[in-house]
Amino acid sequence: MEQTEAELIAAVLRGNAASFEPLVQKYSPRVFATARRYARLESEVEDIAQEVWLKAFEKLNSFRGEAPFEHWLMRLTVRTCYDFLRAHQRNRESAFSDLSGLETDWLERFVTQTEAAADAADAAKLLVGRVLEKLSPPARLVITLLEIEDRSVREIAQLTGWSVALVKVRAFRARAEMRKILMKMATEKYL
């Protein structure tokens, strides 16, 4: 008979580490999808996911069972991704001169015929990835959660452990930071 999630967690806490494996199998797709929002290289994504599960195993005794396990795990995942961003603040100072032909074409189309530049174009996806990489870790986290994943301020506060007021302040600063980066890109490319 298949064990429920609560039974699996209780078994792990009693010392049966093997009961942790079904939890890893069930929730790894969500952990990987979240990690891919913050890390570009697949090796980095795997490192984040591995770190999440090792932390989850260590801290499982702090899971009280009041909220679903998935919520607790997602909080851990987002915080691990944030730690990753803070530890890998690379490439933030690089110039926009190395944009690919595809990205430059999309930008030029945007300048000449704004509406013709499609949102879903691969070039736009590449370009936004580049812009997100230049954001500071708190700005990137808040832009991803608020603007891209469309989460509420309260949800973000729960996921990050920040206060609601702090999320609002960081969201305001993040949008300004993103505009500044876009302005720099526009200046570098077209002036």
Binding site: V24, R30, K125, Y190
Partner: protein, 101 residues
């Protein structure tokens, strides 16, 4: 260039780009293989952390006591010292007995 519109378009592009939830082959096996070693390492780490905290606390208490004794002895150095006070307290009952006789 309309920066606000560019920002809106790029964020829309990011929203449209849902990341894959693909998990590498046998990932759960790799995690499970790492669990015992990690648990052992953490046990040692918590012991080490505890011992260091205890050592720091002991040092702090020793320093505080040392400072207290030093300053209290220098403050009372102009009067009788601690050993004399101790001796007179101890022999007070003997002195009272002598006076009664």
């Amino acid at each position: 260039m309309n920066i606000a519109e560019l920002q809106r378009k790029l964020l829309a592009a990011a929203r449209a780009d849902t990341p894959a939830d693909r998990v590498p082959y046998a990932f759960e096996k790799r995690v499970m293989a790492l669990l015992p070693s990690r648990a052992g390492a953490d046990q040692w780490a918590s012991w080490t952390r505890g011992l260091w905290q205890a050592a720091v606390s002991c040092m702090a208490i020793a320093l505080l006591l040392g400072a207290w004794i030093f300053f209290s002895s220098t403050a009372s150095s102009d009067s009788t010292d601690l050993s004399q006070n101790f001796e007179s307290t101890l022999l007070a009952s003997v002195d009272q007995g002598d006076q009664a006789q």
